[in-house]
């Protein structure tokens, strides 16, 4: 667990024009460029100027919707997005220090494909890749694939035991999925490529391993077609809101994104996940717990509040979020983060309400403020994302020591 003097880790969650539904209407927004590489390159370059640990890129296998359970037909919101892994890959060669953590939906996709795509992201970024895994419980997304019919969920049904059971299964499947990702990443030992001209052998096949995973949702033979990535194991992250999602974070991830609304909740969540981690035998592993916050930031607190009000007026509704919403100055935010950090969170994933404004407030306001307090890096101290997060390059589970 971090103490109050360890540095704070900072990530930024990129999504469209920002997390507020009216963000795209801001003067500095570039809504017509959301599908261009240059837009994303500029945002990630800004985050890298701020020396942030990593960016996440949101994704989904369906159109965005204001309704949590059904599609909507709104025309006044950003709709449509590019594949997040490919955005990250497009950015990777043009950045040097920042980690790249795209979202991958696990409920509908093949672990074999996602394993090699994240391994390849690790190669094209020379060791800065991660993946934020996400379940998809939406019936409309399932219909895009036609493999399995998911029941239609609604807000009222969320406490229904049958629905709970269904959600539990999605997370059980996600845990199997991450197990397959991790085994495939290890399915080549680091020194498997030998290029031995005398024997004509390119690889030492004894250093390639079948993973032989057999589970309820899929069986995967292996080995991967892609050699072990530079970090050995790229970072696995997930967002959780309690219950089975915390078990998933504890059992399967390196970074959990959680949504406390005050320091007490932050402390409780950190303790809860830490206990779950020990219960599954991962007490020795570092699992970072990052607090998610939506941020509206300005040099004057009044200006930030006024901006939020103006955006809410444009959107026609008060902005709500699963995460805490912070409105104020970067220095005030630094106070909150410092307090929550002391309560047991090792870092934060900030969701900028608007882009690029709130991102620049983070890189030019928050990061220097935390640095003044001795709580944030002054330069990239490691070449890999694992290194930035203080995680060693893990031994290969299949290698004989």
């Amino acid at each position: 667990m971090p103490d109050s003097s360890t540095p704070i880790h900072l990530a930024v969650a990129l999504d469209g024009a920002g997390w507020h539904p009216a963000a795209w209407r801001e003067a500095d927004a570039r809504p017509a460029e959301l599908f261009d590489a240059g837009y994303w390159a500029d945002l990630v370059a800004e985050a890298e100027r701020g020396l942030l640990d990593f960016v996440t890129v949101e994704d989904s296998l369906g159109l965005q919707s204001d309704d949590h359970f059904d599609p909507d037909y709104r025309t006044d919101r950003v709709r449509g997005r590019l594949d997040a892994v490919l955005i990250a890959a497009r950015i990777a060669p043009r950045t040097r220090g920042i980690g790249l953590v795209p979202t991958a939906t696990v409920t509908q996709t093949e672990p074999f494909h996602v394993s090699k795509s994240i391994a390849t992201l690790d190669y094209v970024s020379t060791g800065r890749a991660g993946v934020r895994v996400q379940i998809s419980a939406r019936h409309d997304v399932a219909a895009h694939f036609g493999r399995r019919a998911l029941p239609r969920l609604s807000a009222g049904a969320i406490n229904d035991p049958a629905v709970q059971q269904q959600v539990n299964e999605y997370f059980t499947e996600a845990a199997d999925y991450v197990e397959v990702l991790r085994r495939l990443w290890d399915s080549w030992e680091d020194d498997a490529e030998i290029r031995d001209v005398a024997t004509g052998r390119f690889i030492d096949r004894d250093k390639l391993h079948y993973i032989d995973f057999e589970g309820r949702w899929f069986s995967v033979k292996g080995p991967s077609i892609t050699p072990r990535p530079p970090q050995g194991q790229p970072i696995v992250a997930a967002l959780g809101h309690g219950g089975v999602s915390y078990q998933f974070i504890a059992s399967s991830t390196d970074v959990g994104f959680v949504t406390p609304h005050d320091a007490t909740q932050a402390a409780d969540i950190a303790v809860e996940i830490g206990a779950l981690q020990r219960a599954v035998g991962r007490g020795e592993d570092s699992v970072h717990i990052f607090g998610d916050l939506v941020v509206f930031l300005d040099g004057e607190s009044k200006a930030a509040h006024a901006r939020r009000g103006r955006l809410d007026d444009l959107a026609g509704a008060e902005y709500r979020s699963d995460a805490a919403i912070f409105v104020g100055t970067p220095a005030e935010l630094a106070d909150v983060l410092q307090e929550w950090h002391a309560a047991g969170l090792s870092g934060f994933r900030l969701r900028p309400a608007t882009l690029p404004h709130d991102l620049i407030q983070i890189t030019e306001g928050l990061a220097p403020e935390l640095r003044r307090r001795g709580l944030f890096r002054t330069g990239y101290e490691a070449a890999t994302l694992r290194g930035l997060l203080g995680l060693p390059r893990p031994a290969n589970r299949y290698a004989i020591a």
Partner: protein, 464 residues
């Protein structure tokens, strides 16, 4: 009236996971590090090539029940490496081989549409199908398909992705900050598709990309494959790189286009071709011989022999005569995950041909294998290679070539440095790119925006 002079199309195939690639050459670099891909792609772009081409295999090959270890093994994910290459190149097309058996239309469509956006209209898809449960062991659905269903699924897969690409017309994103209208059509992206293979509906979530859809390549050579290409592909990646076979294939496939209401110039024929360039023709021949020998190490010769003999020949001497025992007839069990073994339809007859040839020419096993592997497509001085390539294209043996160098990543350099300038001097190859998209490079007309038929409102005549 004389025939108009054709412009040649050139592409670069990243050296493959097979014995064409001479990894033992001291100049041979990494097949995985991004720097190799970047260097290769930038060389192709320096040569004003139409596109870069990546193959794919979703299970490591095996022989005698073990992972095949003599060739280059391992490759990156196709989509991911192409998206990264879009960052270090500006014009060259980015063609990925993606299997329609082990993917779903929605996901593949959004990956290609995303790649097309992120590359400014340079994406292409080489559609391949897979038949084997062996590869299927890496996937949820197992994926075994009877051979006669392969093209059926591939055809409907392609048709379904086409419907997804066309679910956005390209004019929906208004993004008018003042009025607050982001989308002009609330139904943008709607689709519904139902057939024997796919039953899907909903809304596609990637707006129409610069090219409308990726350029479509097809690689199969069967009668079904040729029809598949004539029906819906923009280009064929063929294997007929000799003049006679090339002309026959070219005429056959181009002849099928009219049946589908298409013009002859709407489908390009681009065979794979290997090359060796020397200062003189004689020097090139000498180098080519050395390369062929390097491509068939003693160990590789035995493995190749086993693929035809369909039995373990690990004790056979590669420097001795061919085995006296006959091949095991029937299903090939010795080698898995490799397309070429299916070509051995009558192994006994082929073995007898090989024996006759070895005896007549006094060849050892390894020398015989080197001979039957065939020589490189183009061998000679830069002048000879440029002239030969141009002759092939003007004689309608192809519309150009997908060049397969035998060294990673520098194997393309001699061609770009010495042959391309000669083709440019002849006026048969572009001196510079004149367009930005791959369709531009290939001389394919821009796709028209789809009619607004995806919207139920439009379909029922209700004004929105």
């Amino acid at each position: 009236m004389s025939k108009p002079i054709k412009q040649i199309h050139l592409a670069a195939h990243f050296p493959g996971v097979n014995n064409t690639t001479v990894w033992s050459d001291p100049a041979g670099g990494s097949h995985i590090d991004f720097s190799s891909f970047a260097q290769f792609a930038q060389t192709a772009e320096r040569g004003k090539f139409d596109f870069l081409f990546l193959a794919e295999g979703l299970r490591l090959r095996e022989q005698n029940g073990q992972i095949y270890d003599l060739d280059v093994v391992g490759r990156p994910d196709t989509f991911t490496v192409l998206a990264a290459l879009a960052a270090v190149t500006d014009r060259v097309g980015l063609t990925g081989t993606i299997n329609s058996t082990f993917n779903e239309p929605y996901e593949v469509a959004r990956q290609f549409a995303s790649l097309d956006h992120l590359s400014g209209g340079r994406a292409a898809w080489n559609v391949v199908t897979s038949w084997d449960a062996f590869t299927g062991e890496n996937f949820r659905r197992g994926g075994f398909l009877a051979e006669d269903q392969r093209y059926d699924r591939a055809r409907t897969f392609l048709q379904t992705t086409q419907e997804l690409f066309d679910s956005w017309r390209g004019d929906e994103i208004v993004a008018d900050k003042e009025s607050g209208v982001f989308l002009s059509n609330p139904h943008a992206g709607e689709f519904a598709h139902k057939d024997a293979h796919f039953d899907i509906h909903g809304r596609f979530n990637v707006p129409r990309s610069p090219q409308g859809r990726p350029v479509i390549f097809q690689a199969g050579d069967s009668d079904q494959g040729r029809d598949f290409a004539a029906h819906g592909a923009d280009a064929i990646f063929s294997r007929h790189s000799t003049l006679g076979a090339g002309q026959e294939f070219y005429e056959d496939v181009k002849g099928r286009l009219a049946r589908y209401g298409r013009r002859r110039d709407e489908l390009l024929i681009l065979p794979a071709a290997t090359f060796v360039i020397g200062d003189t023709d004689a020097e090139a021949e000498e180098i080519a011989r050395e390369v062929r020998l390097a491509q068939v190490s003693p160990q590789t010769a035995i493995k190749f022999l086993e693929q035809l003999w369909n039995r373990d020949l690990s004790d056979h001497d590669p420097d001795g005569p061919l085995p006296s025992v006959d091949p095991v007839v029937g299903e090939n069990t010795i080698s898995r995950g490799r397309a070429s073994v299916r070509m051995f339809r009558d192994s006994i007859a082929i073995a007898n041909e090989w024996r006759a040839k070895a005896e007549a020419e006094n060849l050892t096993t390894r020398e015989l294998i080197v001979e039957v592997m065939g020589r490189q497509s183009f061998v000679g001085s830069a002048q000879t290679v440029a002239a030969t390539i141009n002759d092939f294209v003007q004689a309608d043996a192809s519309d150009g070539f997908i060049l397969v160098p035998h060294i990673t990543p520098g194997g393309l350099d001699p061609f770009v440095d010495h042959v391309v300038p000669l083709l440019q001097e002849r006026g048969v190859f572009r001196a510079d790119y004149t367009g930005t998209t791959l369709r531009d490079h290939l001389g394919l007309a821009p796709l028209p925006a789809p009619r607004r038929s995806a919207s139920p409102d439009a379909a029922t005549g209700v004004a929105s």
